[in-house]
């Protein structure tokens, strides 16, 4: 019997303390706009919503939400969120983590929660930098990134959160950019509908320590040519002139131009996030500029049993069969003897 909520219901009385211009604001806005829809659509009361985070600039988000919130420790939000969800599967659990929080120190809990397919919606704020600690590189920083801890450039490959999710047997992965509020809301709603772990990557801008890192693909001028918003049943077409598309080339992908070399719209792939196409979805998640547009929207959204359901069902089954129902009975079960 969820009431109708408005954006205001999800705003706390705490002043938002991100830097002016920080990309995190827009993801917060998207979340505050999406939750009323989610609650209404799925019949969730506000007190059932909980936002869990680790440590980092982005992880301050729970303070700005007028819901239950847990600002835990660095890297462990996923585990805290898991405990909450298993303890009470009724809850709508949203997790917020930065690229450092989720993928550096929190990497293990991340891949395991994905593997278990527990029903948590993870907002991964990927600004490719450690904001809170003032600008060290993160596991998603570009190769060669010059930061305070890599004054001569990094010498390591970044993760692509999408391929990591898929490699960990993820059932849901989506991507958006801070500047694309509509896409952000769209994937949040899809994530809330998905049963199981839903990872949403938001490419966010850290104005202070990594300003413009995503602009080469998301800048107003270039985004049409360098991003591709995937939607189910739609052709993978992009570009200012909507004449470019993704086609299959053996077992690889390629960018084609409609009208060139005899390419027609029929050659362009149609997106299906619900199909269990690990190889294809992997390649879509892995598309990188300049060879490809970066895929936004829901890349994979397949249905599998969730962990908390498994736990709950098993408990119910065991209870139904059990002959022991109280501790007193437990204490007397098995081998006992009496001394008179």
């Amino acid at each position: 019997m969820a009431t109708k909520y408005t954006v205001k219901d999800f705003k706390s009385d705490q002043e938002v303390r991100w830097c002016p211009g920080c990309g995190d604001y827009s993801v917060l806005t998207a979340l505050q706009r999406t939750l009323p829809k989610v609650c209404e659509e799925q019949g969730i009361d506000k007190e059932k919503v909980v936002v869990v985070s680790g440590i980092g600039c982005s992880s301050r988000l729970p303070y700005y939400m007028n819901t239950y919130g847990f600002h835990s420790i660095h890297g462990r939000a996923m585990a805290v969120a898991t405990g909450i969800k298993v303890a009470n599967p009724e809850l709508s659990v949203w997790q917020v983590s930065g690229d450092g929080d989720a993928l550096a120190i929190g990497g293990n809990h991340f891949i395991h929660a994905i593997r278990r397919n527990i029903d948590i919606n993870l907002l991964l704020f990927n600004n490719r930098i450690y904001g809170m600690t003032k600008g060290q590189y993160s596991p998603t920083s570009k190769f060669g990134a010059v930061t305070v801890t890599s004054p001569y450039g990094t010498v390591e490959n970044p993760f692509n959160p999408g391929t990591l999710v898929l490699g960990s047997k993820g059932t849901f992965f989506a991507r958006s950019v801070d500047t694309e509020l509509a896409v952000s809301e769209e994937i949040m709603l899809a994530a809330s509908r998905h049963r199981g772990m839903a990872v949403m990557e938001f490419l966010t801008n850290c104005v202070i320590f990594n300003h413009g890192t995503h602009w080469e693909i998301s800048g107003r001028e270039v985004k049409a040519d360098r991003t591709l918003v995937l939607r189910d049943g739609e052709k993978m077409i992009f570009g200012k002139d909507r004449n470019k598309g993704i086609a299959l080339d053996g077992w690889k992908l390629k960018v084609v131009t409609i009208g060139e070399n005899g390419v027609t719209e029929d050659d362009i792939l149609t997106h299906d996030s619900h199909a269990d196409n690990l190889g294809l979805q992997m390649m879509l998640a892995d598309m990188k500029y300049p060879d490809f547009p970066v895929a936004l929207g829901v890349i994979r959204d397949v249905s599998e049993a969730t962990y908390e359901d498994g736990v709950r069902t098993q408990v119910e089954e065991v209870k139904a069969k059990a002959r022991v129902h109280t501790v007193d009975e437990l204490l007397h079960s098995g081998s006992t003897w009496e001394l008179k």
Binding site: K46, E47, A79, V80, N88, V315, K319
Partner: protein, 610 residues
């Protein structure tokens, strides 16, 4: 020679053999038989470090010691009256535990050249070990078992697996144990899956019994009269099982579902294993990806309103340090069980020790006070777990419960209590009264905060690892921090109100006070008894509550000229007492060998002092 039946007060028997020889079962059956007979007892399993160390080697020896008494028995016994050695390696590994008067029963068939060589003997093993003077009974147990079952239709490996029953039969004859309990066991063990194994095992058991009755070598047999004081329904329980059940009991009493998030680790794993069997009693268990996830999931479950626990051993406790601080800061109820093993680092995982006390008390960054309790016997683990959960829920604090490998794997008969005799547990759950919920406002008496689990309407709030005000708002204000630091410490200190006073065993004043905590309970008690039997006056106290300490601690100490703190570490508790009551002089009796005390160790230490 004539068979005599001698009545003894107590006996210590050690069954030893290869990992595959079934010595744990043999010992357990002997113990249970004695328990059902009405004896008091204490047992000690001694596993090898490897899963299956090479056959016949000393590294692969598995032992099980049982101490049976006609009166209360408190330890598994230092030295044994009888050693069963199924092979030369077992003899070698255990010879040093023989009393001067001990009987040694060996399986002759295993003492062939190959067997002797594997155990590293070059000549006569009894001479090499200088135990020729003991009462050595050499029986061809393998051959006799084969004979016993030659018509059974079983294949040779199956027949060989029965030879422990032959040994058990012999032991039962020697100590005049009735066989009924073992018959019952065989029935229930094999009825469903292997009914064809019931009769052969029974037969071998009887044949062993009869063989012992017939041979010359066994001059006397013994009886141990039942302990007539204790009445009621009993069961055996290990410390690990008791901890699991104690939590389930607390879950029932508090009306909260139980959540356990743990990562397997010796010797704590059995708690998780036991809990996962009892989903019927509102238990959820999660085997997490690591120890950090274990405690963090538990903290999450606590935030969502479950009774949350996590179980581990030393290295795991180390990994949980940071998250324990989170539980301190969020003031959520949580119990962390540490079944201590020998450290440092991976150390000696199958060996017991009390060396994590300092870490439990101090092993977190910042000012992180929490409650520390300890269990003192396998059965006491039940009460300790129950109490830990009660304190956590009623005082809104993490509690570390220290157990030990010695307790976790050890077992003892336990008079089954009735849950109606246990106190209520009253979690500090609150619902909305319409006003804004201030999560860190406190009960004026206990300083405990209230608990509004996720899902409670109208009570939305945020918790976390950063310092906050009573209202739950972030603050770096110096005075607020100092106040919160002091309140968190004071909250833990005030748990003292729920803690029973120390009971002194012995006079309230005197020359010497023996002090212990945890699993050394039985040994110190036995040492005190021994000393008294030697004519000395000693008093004794045992701490189940370590932080905070019981109210009357200082008073008790002030009655004695000498205070001897006995523990299986370099002196953690003694050091802690020095910080709390520096006015007293604490003498120490320590052992760091991955082994329990011998009663002798403590008796000697006292005699050195007096």
């Amino acid at each position: 020679m004539q068979h005599k039946v001698i009545d003894v007060k107590d006996v210590v028997i050690r069954f030893a053999g290869d990992s595959g020889d079934g010595m744990q079962l043999t010992g357990t059956l002997f113990a249970n038989t004695s328990a059902v007979y009405g004896n008091s007892l204490s047992t000690f399993p001694d596993y090898p470090a490897e899963i299956r160390a090479p056959k016949g080697t000393v590294a692969g020896v598995s032992g099980f010691q049982v101490h049976v008494g006609s009166q209360k028995v408190n330890t598994p016994g230092d030295y044994c009256d009888m050693l069963v050695a199924m092979n030369p390696a077992a003899l070698k590994a255990n010879a040093k535990w023989l009393k001067r008067t001990a009987m040694v029963l060996v399986n002759e068939d295993a003492f062939d050249d190959a067997g002797l060589q594997k155990a590293g003997f070059s000549g006569n093993p009894f001479e090499e070990l200088r135990i020729e003077d003991r009462n050595i009974i050499v029986a061809p147990i393998t051959k006799l078992t084969e004979d016993s079952l030659k018509d059974s239709g079983l294949d040779l490996p199956s027949i060989h697996r029965c030879k422990n029953m032959f040994t058990l039969g012999m032991a039962c004859y020697i100590y005049n144990r009735p066989l009924d309990y073992i018959y019952d066991y065989l029935e229930s063990r094999f009825r469903k899956r292997h009914p064809e194994m019931i009769e052969p095992n029974r037969k071998v058991l009887n044949d062993g019994f009869n063989y012992a009755a017939n041979i010359q070598a066994i001059a006397n047999t013994y009886t141990i009269e039942p302990d007539l004081r204790e009445r009621g329904i009993f069961r055996n329980i290990t410390g690990n099982q008791a901890i699991a059940w104690g939590f389930i009991a607390a879950s029932e009493k508090s009306g909260l579902p139980l959540f356990c998030g743990s990562y397997p680790i010796t010797p704590a794993t059995a708690i998780l294993e036991e809990l996962s069997l009892h989903k019927n009693l509102n238990v959820k268990t999660m085997q997490t990806e690591d120890e950090i996830a274990g405690i963090c999931c538990a903290i999450g479950a606590s935030f969502a309103g479950n009774l949350a626990v996590t179980t581990t051993s030393g290295p795991g406790l180390s990994l949980k340090s940071e998250a324990l601080g989170l539980a301190v800061m969020t003031e959520l109820p949580l119990v962390v069980v540490d079944v201590q093993r020998a450290g440092p680092c991976t150390g000696m995982p199958t060996k017991t020790e009390q060396t994590d006390l300092n870490e439990a008390l101090y092993g977190r960054n910042g000012e992180s006070p929490l409650v520390v309790l300890s269990a003192h016997s396998p059965a006491h683990c039940f009460d300790a777990a129950f109490t830990a959960a009660k304190i956590a829920l009623e005082h809104m604090t993490p509690v570390v419960l220290l157990s030990e490998g010695f307790l976790g794997n050890g077992s003892e008969p336990w008079k089954i209590p009735s849950m109606s005799d246990y106190p209520a547990i009253k979690p500090r759950l609150v619902t909305s009264d319409g006003s804004k919920f201030h999560p860190f406002e406190r009960d004026p008496e206990t300083l405990a905060r209230n608990w509004a689990p996720v899902g409670t309407p109208g009570m939305e709030h945020r918790v976390g690892g950063l310092e906050k005000t009573h209202a739950g708002v972030l603050s770096t204000q110096p005075e607020n921090h100092e106040m919160m630091v002091r309140e968190r410490a004071e909250k833990v200190a005030r748990v003292v109100a729920d803690i029973p006073d120390l009971q002194i065993d012995g006079p309230e004043t005197g020359e010497i006070l023996l002090v212990g905590w945890g699993g050394t309970f039985g040994h110190i008690l036995a040492a005190a008894d021994t000393l008294r039997a030697e004519g000395k006056t000693v008093s004794r106290i045992h701490f189940d509550y370590i932080c905070p300490l019981p109210k009357n601690t200082e008073k008790v100490f002030s009655g004695f000229r000498k205070i001897l703190v006995c523990e299986l570490n370099s002196g953690h508790f003694a050091g802690y007492l020095r910080t709390r009551f520096p006015q007293f002089n604490y003498l120490q009796c320590n052992k760091i060998q991955g082994q329990a005390f011998l009663v002798r160790d403590i008796v000697d230490a006292v005699n050195n002092i007096l």
